[in-house]
């Protein structure tokens, strides 16, 4: 029994030096990104949109703020699905939260208006 406890402690030490508590929580966002890039079908889009909502609304990271890019990419998917209004709102929220995104997001907003 003692040996197993020992192994656990070692495993924990190993784990803790490479993964301290993060700025953001990601849920299954990365898996969903891969699924979308690979398939780009309706199901994979549903899946990634659900993950954006989790990352945006249920943020458990130490910053307690939506991570960069998430509002904008979510807005992009909303626009692709035809919800222009909500899409634009999310793009504008990205600029508010991260002003460094303005150059790029303004460009996208112009494309959407065309």
């Amino acid at each position: 029994m003692k040996k197993y406890i020992y192994i656990f402690i070692v495993a924990f030490a190993f784990h803790s030096c490479s993964a301290p508590k993060g700025l953001y929580s990601w849920d299954k966002y990365q898996e969903a990104s891969y699924g979308y890039l690979k398939k780009a079908d309706e199901k994979s889009i549903d899946n990634i949109m659900e993950q954006y909502q989790n990352v945006i609304k249920k943020q458990k990271g130490t910053r307690k703020v939506t991570p960069p890019g998430m509002l904008a990419d979510y807005g992009f998917f909303l626009i692709q699905r035809g919800d222009l209004k909500a899409g634009r709102e999310h793009l504008n929220k990205e600029i508010l939260l991260y002003p460094e995104s303005k150059i790029f997001i303004d460009r996208i907003l112009k494309l959407v208006e065309k």
């Binding site: 040996k3 030490a13 190993f14 030096c17 490479s18 990601w26 990365q30 891969y34 690979k38 460009r107």
Partner: protein, 225 residues
Amino acid sequence: MKHSIYLLLSATLLIVGCGTTSKLNKAQAYKGMYEEKPVSVLIMPPINRSTNVDAKEYFHTTLNVPILNAGYYVIPPFLSMEILKRESAYDSELFIEKPSLKIFNKIFGADIVLFTIINKWDKSSLASRVTVEVEYILKSTHTSEIVYSRKGTISYNTSISTGGNILLNMVASAINTAATKYVDVAKAANNYIFTDLPKGKYSPMYGLDKEEMAGLKVINVRLPK
């Protein structure tokens, strides 16, 4: 005897986990990063020189999270992919040697651009081991200089144990290797490479990690997982 085996095992694990430091601190090793204080990062599609056709996608989707976790702004990955495709700029080979990267600052507002090159992405099915060799290069869009570069060979054991049954183990690991485990390998490679990245604006450690020892430029990791 048994005790010494555990000791040896734990020592190996610790070396694999936190070893590999160079003699430079981060301020010396990544001078450009501290001088330019980049905020915004554009991720370019990986350059795939391996024989695995899927490696590019596997790898691409794992790159933004570790850079965000280090405290940087990463240009929204799917939106940027869309624009790069529209501008016929989706092929990173066209840009990696370009003398000027100012265009990425103009269009994306990016301070630095991440190029990655997958040199090797091999699977040995008998040993259920995946070996990847990947190069990461961050270049400034203001000076076009390399501000961070590391290369890693990560060998990852993808087998999962189903108890003592050897045949069952072989079947399980064959299935396992075939699917999502590739994403885990990519994540493992990123973890090792980006642990050294000086922390960005959104990290509480921003500007406070200059004295930390930098890791080696070329790393070799065998994950016993």
